[in-house]
Symmetry: C2
Subunit: 317 residues, 2 copies
Amino acid sequence: MNQFVFFGGKGGVGKTTVSSAFAHKCARAGQEVLLVSTDPAHSTADVFDQEFDDDPRPVEGYDSLSVMEIDPEQAVDEHLMGIKRSLGDQVSPAIVNEIDRQIELAHRTPGAHEAALFDQFIEVMRDADAFDRVVFDTSPTGGTLRLLSLPEYLGGWIDRLLEKREESVKLYERAAIGGREPRRTQVGDPIIARLQARKENFEFAGETLRTDASFYVVLNPDQLSVRETSRAVDQLREYDLNVSGLVVNRITPEPDAEETGRGARYLRDRIETETQRLREARESIDPPVVATIESRVREVKGDILESVAAELEIGSE
Amino acid sequence: MNQFVFFGGKGGVGKTTVSSAFAHKCARAGQEVLLVSTDPAHSTADVFDQEFDDDPRPVEGYDSLSVMEIDPEQAVDEHLMGIKRSLGDQVSPAIVNEIDRQIELAHRTPGAHEAALFDQFIEVMRDADAFDRVVFDTSPTGGTLRLLSLPEYLGGWIDRLLEKREESVKLYERAAIGGREPRRTQVGDPIIARLQARKENFEFAGETLRTDASFYVVLNPDQLSVRETSRAVDQLREYDLNVSGLVVNRITPEPDAEETGRGARYLRDRIETETQRLREARESIDPPVVATIESRVREVKGDILESVAAELEIGSE
């Protein structure tokens, strides 16, 4: 199986539960596992009854499981501070204020969080040599996936920017210091370096996500969720990503055969509807259903994690 | 009650069900109602068993209910085409290609959809004189709400752009036609007009959302949903929006008193957990719970709509 595993799906379907159970299963099978949580509610802290932060921290009671939590709000702040710092060194003080203004504005753009989060994903993937398996409790979707097509798209544009930049560095150098050899112009030019690094970063992400990542979509057995999953699978495939299967979470449990009251009728009727939705999902969505997980009475944590992991028929090998 | 009513909350909690039931209730009370759906799965078509599009269409079987469906994907396309057209007239053909490229790029930015959708909301609100009540099956959140602060934020910036633009128009006019009076410069300048319209548009949105709109957050009785709702309420309040209440959807129904099997135990345990989550919601989140709606066996449509509307204790007056 690939080193990177993403559990996507809409909010509330149970991605944190499923990815925690999968990380648990891989760690129990002896793999060195990192679980990356992006849920701003930090529910991995509830699942493992332990606080985490944005560095990988070993989970108590496990030999080879670490968790890190990425806070999208904090990610976007750090992202923008990074840009401020690197630009602040490059431009005249006169326009620093104008740049600050523009950056603040960018912060207010819808989507800034998704973009910053994606940058953090790339950073985690680049720095994952110590782990056999890195499990993400979300998956890039719509707007973020579009960033994967930026390298091809921006290719020509960045090349032209680089040419312009080289020209202006050359001109500047000639004007300032006369007849010296122009060979040193590019060496260490930090703006050129930054543009190239950026393009290269997205290329790395595209390549890694296409060749060393598996994507699962978590859904619930209802009409809305089935439709959304169909769209999510199409989006992932549009970017040539490898959708390995569907995980159906929150299946209603069966009553005993002899139960006949209002409660039992409600459960049987629900199960009938869910079975039909599940059939529709199998018929209309291509990747196979690799796991079905029963609804629990309470939020999944501790002991329940082990039993959910057992229902998760995704191999850890 | 205010003319505009928004039902926010995470995907999958049942916003379309709740807003359809509320629109149904207001229409049955004799109000002229428009239900605006933004769900890309177009589930209002299922609820009312009728196809809709992006113009308000009367719903069969009602005297005063219309539905329109906004497709975010299509909204972003139209939005960008509009920008292309208006810029295409203003700039030299030489840079039209570069602008096309930039606009394509903007299309690929995460958040472009949310921004385009918000523009459409504003358009609907501007054009709603025929309706007593306009019900939206979603609410602006995070990134989109930030757009509401753009007018104050952009105020100074746009003013400076306007000054620059006026200067350049004046210079251009003097250079081109010598000593003529410069009084006509601003009249009909389409770029100035566009910038001012844009700023004014967001000001209108902020004003209307603050003074003539009610926001409800739909949630389910589980820990994740309660926490997300708490955050959503804080976000809305941060922008001085009027959060009128919480609608708790998907409450597990009770079994009969004499039921004792595995099914009945499951339901009772679930109800106990849900009761606790509901108590936490009431304690930790400020706006009142204005409705609790029981889980249905199937997706809500037709007859079930009437019974859900009856459980919805939000006054239509």
